[in-house]
Symmetry: C2
Subunit: 234 residues, 2 copies
DNA sequence: ATTATCTATAGATCTATAGATAATGC
DNA sequence: ATTATCTATAGATCTATAGATAATGC
């Protein structure tokens, strides 16, 4: 097994994680798109961060947009896959919603880069990335469906009656609470490191259930949710 | 009172809201920065949207960054002013927190453009805008302080004990729930129009209190919060 | 005289393409 | 022969400046 491969050697040794040049480029692009934006990151800057020449990028990606497309899609694939499983799971809605919020927050908080910040780039929302858009919309629908079901479950034991509008709004919120993880990580990365991705994800998932009117002790829901995730991951 | 002012006339008639050229430029820049990002918006594009030549912008702003600085600062001034008043107010913390969340969400949802989306531009977070950074940090601190105080108030009547970490995380969330208003508005502007800024702000403020463990009927808090805002606004 | 606008442009980018070069592998 | 990289560059931007011009106002 030789360490060297065919092709002209680089002038600079490799400095980025990733087994292939594609991975190295995506890693550098992720860091730069997040900190400087898409339009604010030149292909030359990405190349320099990888340690290759600007034009070498085009051996692997045919446009700059294709790089962003790759990054956007990979951040949304795992959450959407989990969501699919959860929609078929027989558990209570509260547990499934909790599992989804917790899993997605955890991924966003623990990944090497704060990839969720890419969702907020203006360039991501111009419907140039249909794969990403489709998966993200599906995710939003799952969040809404499970939120509505969770609300129904707890409305029986709840003292206060909610209006249709109140329910409609509350059902839209858990999806956006997940984005709070992204914001917290970009606003104060120190806090994330101090608290840890697991506990922070737990806090956000707790908040999602409470916002839907689930009062009282959440310990059983937390336990059941982790159990569900463990089952699905195997 | 003559309608025409000194100086060479424009080749195109005015098409933007705003009494001064500065306001016209800021209005166009807001729309474009939000939809295409800062680096993705050229000064030529802003000028075209206003109906002036590219270089005319530099008669009013000395750099492109100065335009963004203006927009960022103006979105954070009113919330910070309200926060200052609320920190001195004798009302219960829950009511003051509710008032702050409701007011800020409402402003973000009802303004002409979704200016809050500017916070998420990567260019906004590079500490190039000290006025904005300082006011935003102050706002975050106020949110945290009122959230902690709210939690203390309700912990006496609450069945479940919260750990220090749980309280720490929960206290950070209401600030980010306000950002959910921004996300909802950029993701689905139709929903905002259908529901209305007032009701959506109410739903988010409700969620903030519930996330802090405030269970039960929120009607009295809502009423008191609007009362507090009305007092301060006069 | 003062002002707001215009025209023109310098110098610095930036994306993507064309084609040369230096390795491996058969 | 195949491949990954390199060098070079065309053509299209983009920001900011210099200086001309067409109004008002004294």
């Amino acid at each position: 097994m030789s360490t060297s491969r065919p092709g002209r050697p680089r002038r600079v040794e490799r400095r980025r994680p990733g087994d292939t040049p594609e991975e190295e480029i995506l890693d550098a692009a992720a860091e730069l798109f997040i900190t400087r934006g898409f339009a604010g990151t030149s292909t030359r800057l990405i190349a320099t961060a990888v340690g290759i020449q600007q034009s070498t990028i085009y051996h692997y990606f045919s446009t700059k947009e294709e790089i962003l497309d790759n990054l956007l899609t990979r951040t949304v694939v795992a959450p959407a896959r989990l969501a699919e499983s959860l929609m078929r799971d027989p558990e209570r809605a509260a547990v499934r919603l909790y599992a989804m919020v917790w899993f997605d927050c955890r991924q966003l908080l623990a990944a090497q880069w704060n990839l969720g910040a890419l969702f907020n780039l203006p360039e991501s929302t111009r419907t140039k990335f249909p794969r990403f858009d489709e998966r993200r919309e599906y995710l939003r629908d799952c969040y809404r469906a499970l939120s509505l079901a969770t609300r129904s479950e707890s409305s029986t034991s709840d003292s206060a009656q909610w209006s249709a509008t109140e329910v409609d709004i509350a059902a839209a919120l858990p999806f956006h609470f997940v984005e709070a993880a992204i914001q917290i990580r970009s606003d104060s990365p120190g806090r994330v490191e101090r608290i840890g991705a697991d506990d922070l994800a737990t806090g956000i998932a707790d908040a999602a259930l409470r916002a839907l009117g689930h009062s009282g002790d959440l310990t059983p829901v937390r336990k059941a949710a982790r159990q569900v995730i463990r089952q699905i991951e195997d």
